[in-house]
Symmetry: C2
Subunit: 344 residues, 2 copies
């Protein structure tokens, strides 16, 4: 047989010396075809390299069974867990995922959104880049009623659902926990407040201070990209303060910055939690390895990915209506470990 020519049901029919109609029904596993014949047809299809016509039928049905996934960065533990959860749910329902990363760049996010749109994804799952200012680039989706689900870094939109955790509540609780441990000068390592996740964690931290009659000082809000380097720089900043002005606790909006801040402070001779207590966010693998182990917020990427895809597919299947759901808030429990335990 020719190597590059498309294999058709006629080739399978000829190969087995049966009719093309029988092959067609056999490939659909129709009981009207003898079981043995169906088996022979299936085997011949593989042997000859027959490709089912899902691609052409997608064009006819206007459905590609493909979901677009736009994320800021693929290479983080949290995002890899989200993707794993998404793939699991999509696979279970016969959908495929097309992925793209903005690399935290709003312009790249726009280009990726346009590509997904032209690829005719059935739905879009998106977590916004660090500096995205608005969601005008998603208008084509809204206009064509292609469902959009935001997750983690979301943007309110009346024709879209957001999958989030209670960032405000989690930050409030973890700050309260530090206060309960006797900490009075709590520094916050935060991200760009343009993104809901960082804004809400900052707000929760500030409200907890207020509710416990602790004043908030702008100098105790250290904004960065929360990278390893940013964590080390926060430590340098802390070490440059006079002992009286140093924080007695640090609440970081992610585990990476917390851990690299801890490492630098430990190297400089500070004791954790005695001199500075620590709390992070995400429950990344490093939080269980750093000494002392890091108090953090368990934020299940797997559950978030699974929920986002399941809701999107249920909408596509007409089982539920995404547009009537404003947001879905997932559980995110505080995990208290030695880095913040100053009292028995």
């Amino acid at each position: 047989m020719a190597e590059n020519r498309e294999v058709t049901i006629y080739d399978i029919a000829k190969h087995l010396n049966i009719s093309a109609a029988t092959v067609s029904r056999g490939l659909k596993n129709s009981p009207s075809v003898n079981k043995n014949t169906r088996k022979k047809i299936a085997e011949a299809a593989v042997e000859l390299g027959y490709q089912s016509n899902t691609f052409a039928s997608s064009l006819r049905s206007k459905s590609t069974h493909t979901l677009g996934v736009l994320v800021p960065r693929l290479n983080s533990y949290f995002m890899s867990s989200v993707l794993a959860g998404m793939e699991n749910a999509a696979n279970r329902h016969g959908y495929n995922l097309i992925i793209a990363q903005s690399l935290e760049d709003a312009e790249k996010e726009k280009l990726n959104a346009a590509t997904m749109f032209n690829k005719r994804v059935d739905g879009l799952l998106i977590s916004l880049s660090y500096d995205t200012q608005n969601i005008n680039h998603l208008e084509p989706f809204f206009k064509r009623k292609i469902p959009v689900v935001f997750f983690d870094r979301v943007h309110p939109h009346n024709a879209s659902t957001s999958i989030v955790i209670n960032n405000y509540g989690a930050a409030y609780n973890i700050t309260k926990h530090l206060i309960d441990q006797g900490c009075r000068r709590i520094m916050h390592l935060g991200g760009n407040v343009l993104r809901n996740v960082y804004k809400e964690r900052f707000d929760g931290y500030r409200q907890a201070l207020k509710d416990h009659d602790l004043s908030f000082n702008e100098k105790m809000h250290f904004i960065s990209t929360l990278s390893e380097k940013a964590g080390a720089e926060a430590a340098k900043h802390i070490l440059n303060l006079t002992a009286a002005k140093r924080p007695d606790a640090v609440f970081s909006a992610n585990d990476t910055a917390a851990v690299y801040c801890m490492i630098a402070l430990k190297t400089a001779g500070l004791r954790i939690p005695e001199d500075v207590a620590f709390a992070g966010f995400n429950n990344d693998p490093i939080s269980k390895v750093i000494e002392p182990n890091l108090t953090t917020v368990d934020y299940s990427g797997d559950t978030m990915g699974n929920t986002a895809v399941t809701n999107l597919i249920n909408h596509l299947k007409g089982i539920s209506n995404l547009y009537s759901t404003n947001s879905i808030t997932l559980r995110a429990d505080m995990i208290i470990r030695a880095s913040s335990l100053k009292k028995g």
Copy 2:
């Protein structure tokens, strides 16, 4: 305008009161159309929600500009780096990635491969599951000359390229390093030897022992899935040995098992590296956080993903021929840290 009807170039033409032919040329950014008009056409296309016909043209050209990626698990640091590298390279060349995970299950890998085949990916990138026995499920790709690139966990095939590191050499060097530090009873935490990566790391370890007149003992080869739990179980196994039979070094085929073995041994009072020296593999984030920091092999997932996709796309573009390349071996340097340094 109707919300669900396909927007055509005729709608854009009508909207701007120009000819459809001009719109068609304008959308292709042809210089024969006035620059201002091209801008107006592009804006109207977005405003009206026009989708370019890449999907239909894919069907005509028999090319989808989509690459399939089949991996064992998405949620590992290494794999998320591979995906990030792949997405980067694919995006640069105008290709999209469809992803699926086998969850280390050969049967699921087969189903995923069939889905990718029917989705008509232009090429396939695959890393095999833990228990895949053969690659018969990839025959349809080979038969239709759809290029297949193996990466990391590979399988030799004469119509395919494998992207690997020198696992044997890296394992040999790291074992030799432990021997140079005075270690004589080196245990190996390994994976399923059905997979090249684990077989070759085991072989490199064994050869280094042999070349230094150290005998190999089957009891010093602890085979597992190299999970956190497996690392802790290896520690239990070590602690159950009499002091005279205990290893004075552990070389693990990944960082996760090494780190969780270290944590358990430290808890039991053993000193690292004095009582047991440690070396891992991958240079995961946890290897830089565990105390003492873990000696390991720097294995860049990003470079591997980038190389795999770039070679695949070059083949598709006719720039180079994948079939003439048997394998590509990437650099993987040993990183010596405190966990293995017994001497100055």
